[in-house]
Symmetry: C2
Subunit: 685 residues, 2 copies
């Protein structure tokens, strides 16, 4: 077990490395050549122009003004300065509310930390249990935790009281935050200028009709059932071929622009190209003429394909976007059942145009139902059995296996350094690769489940990832062994034993999780702001591929807040904070540093870098809230388990109201606020 | 363990007693004097008149036509003859669909019984395990059950296959029934003539407004938000005092009619009465004059009270019934959220006027939320700890306790017969009394939860009673010990052990449950048709209290189908059938007899006796369906537990898809049909 000094040293090293990242970032961001990597949002907004033209040749690439280097941390106040309404205007409500999650972490844990250090740390410190045990090596860190309180001691009353205080405070901040976010969302919806998607309903599962086309059928249905409000509709076509032609034409247009620019700069000789693939072989022709003629051919193809799709009944999907004359009519149609068979004519608020996930618009109800059953089963196995295929791959990737399949590699493998590298890294790499592609797997599963908008897909993937983290990272770190072994032992244990088994191990793992927070949390955030991968890719692209201004625009990869993976990770820190608040308060300052640092970094990123793919109006908040409640209940159950092993079992029953009240609080909040995120009140038009 | 002969004898006795009941019923129902007890529905409909006037004095009371006695069972075909559409017309959809639950039992269990007797009984019978064990007393009944198959035998493949067949068949019948009932409901709603409640929405939680009265506030809100459809509204007054005056006036009117009739028959002397309570003392006055003047005073009081309520803002409740011009506008208002605060302006389809539970119309949202938390907690303790207060009462009611409190009873108590009666009956009586008042307790709990209609209250009480039966009757009979002890042992056992513990005991309890079905089921149904209590009460009232025709009308107690208590009891028989289908098929014929007998009896009762308090249009079906699914899943889990103890553990995993698929089937059905029971499609107007 690490001592306070060890942890202090580790913290110092991690802080230093985080500062090194920050310093590197501060240096790099000041170089004009990196401007598009660190401020892409302003370029996309058209506010910031390319600096490469206006300045001198040296100034174009390197910043020589030494005064800017002195104030290398001044991006932090700059990031905090923008007021929230402006931030919403600038980056959208999704991003602004996302940042509030970190702020919520601060609001929640700063008072909890003060209380825990004021009350629990003295109580634990003077417990004097560990000093009396000679054969155990203990450290000052453990003396700060609940382990130092003797079993059966009345000191546990302090812990019980404090868990109630913590629960109450957590619920209070959650309630205030839910209320604030709900109001922000309603203001946001009401203040927006009339956008088409606010007056549009997505209709799916239009039943086939023998006498009418989908187009006529939709029109007749809505003319009859919403006569006063129906405006028009747009049916959905399967236009994959058309999309290919359009993409081709765009590429040709880019080449044409490139050669036209070239010709403009040097009007003496017309540029030439070759007719083969990529312009590398074939007969040499005049480039501008060649691409102009190609463009014409593609334009004709496009028109023909468009014509074909419009007249081909097979290209029509049984879905449509129906527009209404008023928000009232739209709300009515989106929120009511259309037909007495509830599996056809399904209506919902149309997602934003950017938010639509087109592939899933035409899945029949029965298929949808089966798909959800299958993915739920698959998710269960993914969470509890994911180690099995990885162990299989690892067993294949051992030395004998490789020698057998590829005997000619034998002399190389038998070299000592190569051998140790393979033995040391290969098994780890299999796991690492799996963890990297895990979000993609989860997103694919959500897509198979058949949700119709990107925002919904993100929310569902986040839910899956959250459970994966809870089972495999949290429980997996506390109880060693694979999730499958845990599942088996849990099934064979009485349900009251599970919190005990987990709860007892918690105080012992405090130092492990402190290190985890520093390495994964602090360093991860610092790496986020440095944007190493986009930086390298941008410069590579800029050097080798960029031909026109449009290419440069595309080489810039602003990225976006990836809700599906980053939100469950934040939840994990909330969970750690709540679990350890009463057990080992020493962990709390590390959590607070994480939240504070993340808040500044992500505020900066949201303002200067990220370009969101869609705007859902913070519709994900009920999910965030629910998962926070789950974390809270987990922490309460584990506390009960821990206390019941401390010869304090009778009093532990006093903790029983906590999960019940928290569950009830969740129900209450859901009833009070959730509809603001799924429904649209008739009063607001 | 009982042999087949024992069970046969017991069945014969129970059948005989049931037939005795039926014979008694057949005799009694033919007597004209009992006509109002056995055919009250026809009286209430005004189709059947009082036979006492038209016939001779003897014929008025006793039926002397011997031919009618010969065909004493002919009420059975008569009950079955009425076609379903006519039955719906005559007794309402609620009753017609309720009877279908028994029919569903037949549809489900007749093929299952045939299959079980064709396949499983031969397999079990030739298992030859019990014959080889000498020290066990076994009977032919056990030879028919799964206990006779040797552990680890491949014969269990037959049981596994059959459980799949049974599951499939059960789900199929459930699906067809859900579909049929949903269609019946939709036809019923569409076919009904326009009733006011179909165009009315109940609005609750009208927020207080400082400037406007509730009346104006409601009017303005709906004029603004539903301008094209709003017709009018009726606010709800707290008129308890008025209701008392009206009741008083009704009683006076009855006395007046009585004396007027008396005077009519004997115009020579005017009837007199006394001014004191009940006419027993006080000064003698002319009765007709006295009651006429009383009526006038009350009419004045009534008008004054009415005036007072209309003008008193405190008497106005924050709820209103809002009527719309079209079903479309009503559907829109009932099914959409009105205000961005989802806890005010709550709208729902107005219940039928008879169905409204007035007391709960004005409960604020927060209070409602707390009430539900409290009743849920109370229900949990009621189910698991109900034996504790009863044991306490029983301990008080023992001999020493009585002697201590009432020492003068000592000589009486010490008499031997009295002693044995007290010791034998008192503890049982405490339990019996509790079980009799249990439905009332559950209904009170549902009322506290704050539902606004009688039908909803019935549905919620049924849900509570169902869980009480599952835990205390089903599990309580299989595992001896109180529910609280069970709960404790379940918490201390691994979750996989629970189905094993319960599953192993199941085959041993087959004869117990067969007896239960005969005593509680068969005899209970026969007692239902005899209507002993209403019969006795009617004759008592008719002899001593009835003064006018109106009194006689009221003395008739037609009763009603008590959904809250009788539906969970049917579910219990479904559960027994499903659990024992693959374990001990011998139980199935008894279940079939129960369902067939109940079907005939309740069809007769619904046609001739019951007068429903409200008509909800079979809105309870999703609950019935869900509970049947729960029974099915319980039976599957117990089968898994049973098989895993038969040295067949590996193959038991093959049963795992059953509960998962059943759960998915439930989700599918809910998505497919449930909205037909809670929403109202816009297409149907």
């Amino acid at each position: 077990m690490a001592s306070v000094q060890d942890i202090g040293l580790s913290a110092a090293i991690n802080l230093m490395s985080a500062f090194a990242f920050l310093f590197a970032f501060a240096m790099l961001r000041l170089q004009p050549v990196n401007d598009r990597v660190y401020f892409p949002k302003w370029y996309l907004k058209g506010i910031r122009g390319s600096p490469t033209r206006s300045r001198g040749i040296m100034n174009r690439f390197v910043n020589l003004d030494w005064t800017t280097y002195v104030k290398f941390l001044n991006w932090m106040p700059a990031a905090l300065k923008m007021p929230e309404p402006e931030l919403i205007e600038h980056a959208g409500l999704d991003s602004a509310v996302y940042i509030r999650i970190y702020l919520l972490g601060l609001k929640m844990f700063v008072p909890i930390t003060l209380l825990a250090f004021g009350v629990l740390v003295p109580v634990n410190w003077t417990g004097e249990t560990l000093e009396n045990i000679d054969d155990l090596t203990f450290s000052n860190v453990d003396k700060l935790s609940i382990s130092n309180v003797p079993p059966g001691s009345p000191r546990f009353w302090a812990h019980i009281t404090m868990t109630y205080v913590f629960t109450f405070w957590t619920c209070y901040t959650l309630y205030m935050e839910y209320k604030a976010v709900a109001n922000m969302r309603l203001r946001h919806l009401a203040a927006e200028s009339r956008r088409p998607d606010q007056l549009t309903v997505l209709v799916r599962n239009v039943p086939p009709d023998p006498d009418e086309s989908v187009n006529e059928h939709v029109e007749h249905f809505f003319c009859v059932n919403h006569p006063d409000h129906y405006l028009c509709h747009q049916i959905v076509y399967n236009a994959n071929d058309l999309a290919k032609i359009v993409a081709q034409r765009k590429a040709m247009q880019n080449w044409l622009t490139y050669y036209e620019n070239k010709y403009e700069r040097k009007p003496t000789n017309r540029p030439t190209t070759k007719t083969g693939y990529g312009g590398f072989w074939g007969t040499t022709v005049d480039a501008i003429d060649f691409y102009t003629s190609k463009m014409e051919i593609l334009a004709e193809q496009e028109a023909a394909e468009r014509e074909k799709i419009m007249n081909d009944p097979k290209a029509i999907m049984p879905a449509a976007f129906v527009s209404f004359k008023s928000r009232w009519g739209t709300a009515v149609c989106a929120q009511t059942q259309q037909c007495h068979n509830p599996t056809i004519w399904l209506t919902e608020w149309a997602p934003e145009p950017r938010d639509v996930f087109w592939d899933n618009l035409a899945i029949p109800y029965v298929e949808l139902s089966i798909r959800r059953l299958l993915t739920t089963t698959a998710l269960f196995f993914l969470i509890f059995c994911f180690m099995i295929p990885i162990a299989f791959v690892q067993s294949l990737a051992n030395l004998e296996g490789i020698q057998k399949v590829l005997p000619f590699l034998k002399p190389v493998i038998e070299m000592k350094t190569v051998k140790s590298v393979i033995q040391g890294f290969l098994p780890g790499i299999a796991l690492k690769i799996f963890l990297i592609i895990l979000p993609t797997i989860l997103m694919t599963m959500s897509q198979i489940e058949g949700y119709t908008s990107l925002s919904y897909l993100d929310r569902r993937s986040a839910e899956k990832y959250f459970w994966f983290i809870i089972v495999n990272v949290f429980l997996g770190s506390i109880i060693t062994g694979t999730a499958f072994q845990q599942l088996k032992s849990f099934l064979e244990q009485p349900p009251t034993e599970i919190p005990k088994t987990v709860g007892v191990s918690i105080p012992m793992k405090a130092t492990f999780f402190i290190t985890y927070i520093m390495v994964d949390g602090w360093a991860g955030i610092a790496a986020e702001i440095l944007r190493v991968v986009p930086l390298v890719i941008f410069h590579l692209k800029n050097t080798f591929l960029v031909k026109t201004e449009q290419d440069r625009q595309q080489a810039m990869d602003p990225g976006h807040l990836d809700f599906a993976t980053s939100e469950p990770r934040i939840q994990f820190y909330f969970l750690l904070g709540l679990v350890y608040a009463a057990v080992a308060p020493i962990l709390l300052p590390f959590i607070i540093v994480f939240f504070a640092f993340s808040y500044v970094v992500f505020r900066h990123q949201v303002i200067n870098v990220y370009n969101q793919k869609y705007e859902s109006g913070a519709r994900y908040w009920p999910d965030v809230h629910r998962r926070l409640i789950i974390c809270l209940i987990i922490s309460q159950l584990l506390m009960m388990g821990l206390l019941s092993t401390k010869k304090f079992a009778k009093v532990t029953a006093l903790l029983l109201p906590q999960p019940i009240l928290t569950f009830w609080f969740n129900r209450y909040c859901a009833g009070r606020f959730e509809s603001a995120f799924s429904k649209f009140p008739l009063q607001v038009r």
